[in-house]
């Protein structure tokens, strides 16, 4: 098995290659404005670092968010097109699950939350139990509205750190890494488990104002 995973749902543009046992290459850059430019070169880099060819890939895993839409779509459409052209399956992974796995690897224990920035003073978040299983979410809420529910439990991710004044358990890791996303997907697949369909978790309806009736041009 050779699984390529990537995620562009947050400011991290991250790609990794997993051989079924371990992560064999990874590339992560933090740049919220250049997902489109950075992703393909990152994919190319991890393949070259691992000495692997595109034709060797057996599956793709892509972060499906939640995350700000424009960046999120870069990863999803790239995965869809790569999967189509290479004839390999494309699996979706909740971006927050990748972040949660990174948190466990960094020693976070007990119940905790993974929190990313949803802009507009809101966060995307999900809650995990002491085994790292997601028990609620993903949801989009205001930090103050989830602070009570977290009751000071660890809250990892850039969204938590951004609102550390409200989310008192805020701590690292700050960003999702494709290595953890890949490991999560590889384990699930090896166990014959399900992953998500590769469609975006927008969690919000599109902003679309219906224009008011046309404005009168004559003085009233």
């Amino acid at each position: 098995m050779l699984l390529l995973a990537f995620d562009t749902a947050t400011p991290a543009v991250t790609a990794a290659l997993h051989d079924g046992t371990t992560v064999v290459a990874e590339s992560t850059r933090i740049d919220a404005r250049r997902h489109g430019e950075l992703l393909l070169p990152a994919i190319d880099r991890v393949l070259r670092d691992a000495g692997a060819a595109k034709g060797d890939l057996t599956a793709l895993a892509v972060g499906v968010g939640p995350g700000p839409y424009t960046g999120l779509r870069v990863g999803l459409v790239t995965a869809a097109a790569l999967g189509h052209a290479l004839g390999i399956p494309v699996h979706g992974v909740c971006t927050l699950d990748g972040l949660a796995r990174a948190a466990r690897a960094e020693g976070v224990t007990g119940p905790f939350a993974a929190v990313t920035d949803a802009r507009r003073k809101e966060v995307y978040w999900a809650a995990y139990d002491e085994h790292g299983a997601r028990v609620s979410g993903p949801d989009v809420d205001r930090p103050a509205d989830i602070a009570d529910r977290l009751a000071g439990a660890p809250a990892v991710g850039a969204g938590a750190l951004l609102h550390a004044g409200v989310l008192t358990g805020a701590r690292g890791p700050e960003h999702v890494s494709a290595g953890h996303l890949a490991a999560h997907a590889a384990e699930r697949l090896a166990a014959g488990g399900d992953l998500l369909p590769p469609v975006p978790l927008y969690l919000r309806r599109p902003d679309a104002q219906v224009p008011a009736g046309y404005k009168a041009v004559l003085p009233a």
Binding site: G36, I43, K54, R73, V77
Partner: protein, 364 residues
């Protein structure tokens, strides 16, 4: 013919997910998925709605185009994509998809200009573009007069709208008349029942001191709204067909007058008209009449190729390959305000890097 380049083109600058396949100047497939119905209730294109629709439609539309063309992706000589101008988020979906296809298939990538593509589509219907060719591009997003000597490298703007695009004026007048969105087709249909001489609406920027090749449709739109309101306020029926016909006459009069003038002044005897508004029946008829009188050969693609589509992008891509133009790099970005003078976005590191990209793609 068979050794002409086979190129797949992707277009997502607005609300149409277009994928076309072209061999040289021969159209093999033109698949379009439109989100226009989702925008209709908003009275205009909603960028986020368009971007979401592009993502959903991308792979099925690419597959449909390949099936229509009867080719496999491995046969392609290149992947072309609209790099700009257009809606930033919408462009990004197409550019990201094109890069992934080019990379996975080991094919060169060509990020091209949307406006140059609108001109180049003419090759699919009337053969290679004469050099020079004058182009009048009119749509909901643009109204420009462009002179091109070589469609892969040299497009010069002579004039453009200083306010609304022609297609926008159609949308706004349709709204004033309560005819719905998009306005172009419905105003055209209404106008057929009306008298184009009924109301003398103003012709923008046609005074002796006005810029010769620029356009303005904002004043016209306001004049139509004012005229209609006055009727309504006086309690009179609005003669919708006459208003539509007179408005349309004013738009097409200015467009064709300036286009013919530009051809004469620059010694150009071929005029192509493209963009969604080129589907307008009165514009086509008036352009034919005036070009004939001026001894200018007119090239107007069929309506389906005038609106945004992937075939036009593939047409320009195929011409790029034929002329050995530089490919784009894998870090190509979508540029919502790509200048019309930039026909393509070649790899900034030049041919050496482009060559490396080829062998990398081909070998892996």
């Amino acid at each position: 013919m068979a050794d002409e380049p086979l190129v797949l083109g992707i277009e997502t600058s607005c609300d149409e997910t277009g994928v076309g396949v072209v061999r040289g100047t021969t159209l093999l497939a033109d698949a379009v998925a439109s989100s226009v119905d989702e925008h209709a209730r908003f009275g205009g294109v909603v960028p986020e709605v368009a971007s979401r629709a592009h993502l959903e439609a991308m792979v099925p539309t690419v597959q449909r185009a390949l099936d229509q063309a009867g080719v496999t992706a491995a046969d392609l000589d290149g992947i072309a994509v609209t790099a700009g101008p257009g809606l930033a988020g919408a462009l990004l979906v197409g550019v990201s998809a094109a890069k992934a296809y080019a990379y996975a298939l080991g094919k060169p990538l060509y990020g091209v200009n949307h406006l140059a593509s609108h001109i180049c589509v003419s090759q699919l219907e009337h053969g290679r573009l004469p050099e020079p060719t004058m182009a009048l591009l009119v749509s909901g997003g643009h109204s420009s007069l462009l002179l091109t000597e070589d469609i892969t490298s040299d497009v010069r703007p002579l004039g453009a709208t200083i306010d609304d695009a022609a297609g926008e004026a159609f949308d706004k007048v349709a709204r004033v008349l309560g005819l719905g969105f998009p306005g172009g087709p419905v105003v055209d249909r209404m106008a057929r029942e009306g008298d184009p001489e009924a109301i003398r609406f103003p012709r923008g920027l046609t005074g002796p001191r006005d810029p010769e090749y620029d356009f303005s449709f904002s004043g016209l739109k306001t004049a139509v709204a004012r005229w209609v309101e006055q009727k309504r306020r006086a309690g009179e029926d609005v003669p919708v067909a006459d208003v539509a016909a007179s408005f349309q006459e004013a738009v097409t009069d200015v467009l064709t007058r300036k286009a013919v003038k530009a051809c004469r002044a620059n010694g150009v005897d071929h005029l192509m008209i493209g963009g969604g508004v080129a589907a307008n029946s009165r514009l086509r008829a008036m352009a034919e009449e005036r070009c004939e009188r001026a001894g200018i050969r007119l090239r107007v693609p069929r309506p389906g190729l005038c609106t945004d589509n992937g075939a036009m992008v593939a047409a320009l891509g195929a011409e790029m390959v034929r002329r050995g133009r530089d490919a784009s790099a894998l870090d190509l970005s979508a540029d919502s305000s790509l200048p019309v003078t930039e026909v393509s976005v070649p790899d900034p590191h030049g041919a050496v890097h482009a060559h490396a990209h080829h062998s990398l793609g081909g070998g892996a």
